[in-house]
């Protein structure tokens, strides 16, 4: 019983997060300006991190947790660097 409930909830979560990643990718491709693309990339990072956490629940292993943590860290650094590039025209002054 609990396996069935968890199976359906995990499948629904996978589908919803995959659709969310596809929509963020759509915004990243469509633009229209550079800051929209950066925002789409940031949302893509967050959604993929959540998808990895749900994979971790589904498999019962803690391996996915570390990957999700690293994706969260890299997403922060990437978005800050890109925002600084849009503001100043260079990343390291």
């Amino acid at each position: 019983m609990s396996v069935t409930i968890l199976y359906y909830a995990l499948t629904a979560a996978h589908v919803m997060l995959s659709v969310a990643m596809a929509l963020a990718l759509l915004r990243m491709i469509r633009g229209p300006r550079a800051q929209d693309r950066v925002l789409g990339l940031d949302t893509l990072y967050v959604n993929s991190m959540l998808l990895l956490l749900t994979f971790g629940i589904g498999s019962g292993r803690t391996l996915y947790f570390e990957a999700a943590l690293i994706i969260g860290l890299l997403g922060f650094v990437a978005t800050v660097a890109l925002a600084k590039f849009l503001m100043r025209g260079e990343v390291i002054e």
Partner: protein
């Protein structure tokens, strides 16, 4: 699904509810990112996914591993704290960059700088027009 067999029913219901809440909020936020008309409105939408979207999924993961491992597991809260702290920083920087670019192009839809004309608001030349 190997460890899920010995999960009690209340834990399965709690994990499923938090999972569905988190992923549905992330999906709603991303739909808003796709459909809202201007950039400054779109900037608000993904924060649904980074506040309660992340909170719900992290809570589900914590409950699952605490019950199946029969010991408290708290390291998922690192992701929750980190995302909660860093999202305002990144989005504020991105909004400042977008405002700077719009002002540099003379867009009439954004308000002028508060220090315009005094010389105090003088900044670096505009970034390249990488549209």
């Amino acid at each position: 699904m190997s460890q899920a067999a010995d999960l009690p029913l209340w834990a399965a219901i709690a994990v499923s509810a938090f999972l569905l809440l988190g992923s549905a909020l992330a999906l709603i936020g991303t739909i808003g990112l796709t459909r809202l008309p201007t950039f400054y409105e779109r900037l608000h939408a993904p924060t649904l996914g980074t506040s309660w979207g992340t909170g719900g999924v992290v809570m589900a993961s914590m409950i699952f591993f605490t019950v199946t491992g029969s010991r408290p597991v708290f390291h998922e809260i690192l992701i929750g704290i980190f995302v909660t702290v860093t999202t305002p920083v990144t989005l504020m920087l991105l909004a400042q960059a977008a405002l700077h670019r719009d002002r540099a192009e003379g867009d009439a839809n954004v308000p002028p700088s508060a220090t315009a004309g005094t010389g105090a608001g003088k900044e670096a030349p505009a970034a390249g027009t990488a549209d």
